[in-house]
Symmetry: none
Subunit: 407 residues, 2 copies
């Protein structure tokens, strides 16, 4: 019997309110250079400290030991989905990040503008990293002339520098396909092929990509330096069991950045538009408290500071969050989890595999008698070190939303 | 390769004595209301403290994160069986709890006396919770007239209030079947069906249930208010690999309550009758020390106090246990584990998902340098937080009962 099936069988509908607050990239590592403190440990966090005494703590492995997740797997795990079982193509993640509202069945591709020589050989895979404005201009040229291929709608959206995405919306399309990218310079753009040679939908999609190239390449053939493009990660939006059905909870996402709105939409959360700051996000939570059972609240600035390697900025982002927290706590949910989707250690200037700390608070979470919420404290918490995909299950348990297993 | 097969291949016969002492529902949570102490932390336990310094500690997830187990899965995990793989039907657990000695192949059903109207519609699923004496009288009436159906023996045993069990003992019978219970009032009793439509033994069993209803209903048709009955959890005793073969250990169970004697019999332990108190249980352990290799000793009162939400009583139950412990330690086994089958937090008045603490003591367990055996101490123990089904494997290892894996 699959564990997810057992969880589903035991899941009950209750009136509990649950909230998952994600400080993106929260986790960090202690080093001599920062006096053996992490940003969370160095920060002044009176409000998190106040919660800590009445909470359980632990650390979460985002995917599997040693694996550094992108935002996609990081969040899918937090939403309770096995991030290895439910993989989301890079094209889909890229499209979500650019704010494209995807529909089930859409096939997405990450694309790069590139420089080709007269024989069609790739000479620069990034076309000298053209400015974003040039990318936007080229995308507009393509979008103006390639709106459809047969019955399939084509959506082109510019990203930063040489990057853009192409979304194919039609019937009977599927990925994944091989890349239209030689992955190095000096070679021609390869023709894409179905990953599964017997899959008719993939075959149809491969033909569509070939036709797209035939139509699109001539449009920019005289541009310099970006006279061609490459496509990678061509895949459709996977079928993911809906959050509401899986947990019997009506979910809302209060996020600021498109990527996180998009990821929450993948599992069917209601996307709440408007709030631009954590204070506004918390205010909206208070307003909408009665409308939903589950709130996903996403805070980006911890990750940004980590990516910049800026310890002080990460500490400050945590302190800003902590200062806003009393607003949220005006309506304390029955179950509250505060964590990250992964660690983004300043020393690494990027995502990492280090288990992120998690705080779990409810009337029955028990107290780990810890005065603060920190990585070091979380190491000795009663939740232990566990896979992030189980956090939702612990939140359900704390909401008394599971029937007993066996007599 | 299945992990269990690997363990079996590596398992050696030794002369070691192992003891598993289960304080039922031992685990608890710390809360402000109890000065941030659990009953185990609040209790005066000089003898457990004495063991602790020479032991390893950890916490065990009874089944999977967030899942609250009944006594069945809780104990199967402690006996080293995956409680999701080896599921025991509710009818079987109920029969064991009432002291019915089951044989392999027996099909058991939980039953309720109920009130039916003239058209056979269920009007009260519990017949107004009739007194236990009425239930016993009704069961005696049924048992007197329905002893056999064809070649199949029928055993009827009264429980508390409206509850009873029916056991079918014959050849070629199997569950599980659907319930003969509409699960709400205002509907007729549904006809039971095989869960697997192609299973001939289940089909035969479904016919037997129908015949049982045909014979039994008229016997109580004129009774008030219990003029009918419902049957649920109709399943056979599953095939579970025998403990003795699995671990090369001759096991004995020294339990007081029928449920735990029954659960130990499911895996083939020798059931020791007689002892009524923990002192008597320990005395019997000393007497029988040479007869068996493995002793399962079950102490119920921690769970009872937890179910009553009585912190002081749970603390007292732990202190009573601790006071008796020196008797047991007159013959210290080579490997000793002291734990619960799950937590029963007083604040929850019931079983829970919180990992229970475990103490593991042997000449090679190592010391976690902890002065006491507590939930908070167990959080930082060398065993970490692990699934309860692995405790037996750790006990085997401490008994040096595993060969090295690979060269």
């Amino acid at each position: 019997m699959k564990l997810d099936s057992l969880y589903s069988e035991l899941t009950l509908k209750t009136n509990a309110k649950l909230a998952l607050i994600v400080l993106d990239g929260l986790g960090d590592i202690a080093r001599k250079e920062t006096n053996y403190l992490t940003p969370l440990e160095a920060a002044h966090t009176p409000n998190l400290d106040g919660l800590s005494k009445e909470s359980a703590q632990g650390r979460m492995i985002p995917v599997a030991p040693g694996i550094t997740p992108g935002s996609g797997p990081g969040h899918l795990a937090l939403f309770g989905y096995d991030p290895i079982e439910f993989q989301v193509g890079r094209g889909v993640i890229e499209a979500l990040g650019l704010g494209v509202e995807l529909k089930p069945g859409d096939v997405c591709a990450r694309a790069n503008f590139a420089t080709l020589d007269a024989k069609g050989i790739v000479r620069d895979r990034r076309a000298g990293r053209i400015p974003t404005e040039t990318c936007e201009k080229l995308c507009a040229m393509l979008a103006a002339k390639v709106k459809k291929i047969g019955d399939t709608q084509v959506i082109i959206k510019a990203g930063k520098e040489h990057r853009f995405v192409v979304v194919f919306r039609g019937k009977g399309l599927e990925g994944p396909l091989t890349d239209a990218d030689p992955n190095r310079e000096g070679f021609a753009i390869p023709t894409v092929k179905p990953r599964d040679a017997k899959n008719a939908k993939q075959k149809k999609m491969a033909k569509l990509i070939a036709e797209f190239y035939k139509k699109a390449l001539p449009i920019i053939a005289k541009e310099k330096p970006a006279n061609g493009f490459l496509m990678r990660g061509i895949a459709h939006q996977p079928q993911i069991p809906l959050f509401e059905e899986r947990y019997k909870l009506k979910p809302a996402a209060i996020a600021v950045y498109p990527m996180y709105k998009g990821l929450s939409q993948l599992v069917g959360m209601v996307k709440i538009e408007g709030p631009q700051t954590i204070k506004e996000q918390f205010e909206r939570y208070l307003t909408d408290y009665d409308k939903y059972d589950f709130f996903f609240i996403h805070y980006k600035y911890t990750d940004k500071a980590g990516e910049d390697g800026n310890f002080e900025a990460k500490k400050k982002a945590i302190e800003d969050f902590d200062a806003a927290l009393p607003l949220f706590l005006q309506k304390r949910p029955d179950v509250l989890a505060i964590t990250g989707d992964h660690s983004t250690p300043c020393a690494l200037k990027g995502h990492s595999w280090h288990p992120q700390p998690v705080l779990l608070h409810s009337a029955v979470s028990g107290s780990d008698k810890l005065d603060r919420f920190t990585e070091t404290g979380a190491n000795v918490g009663s939740l232990g070190v566990f896979e992030a995909k189980f956090l939702m299950r612990l939140m359900q348990a704390n909401a008394k939303a599971f029937d007993k297993f066996g007599a």
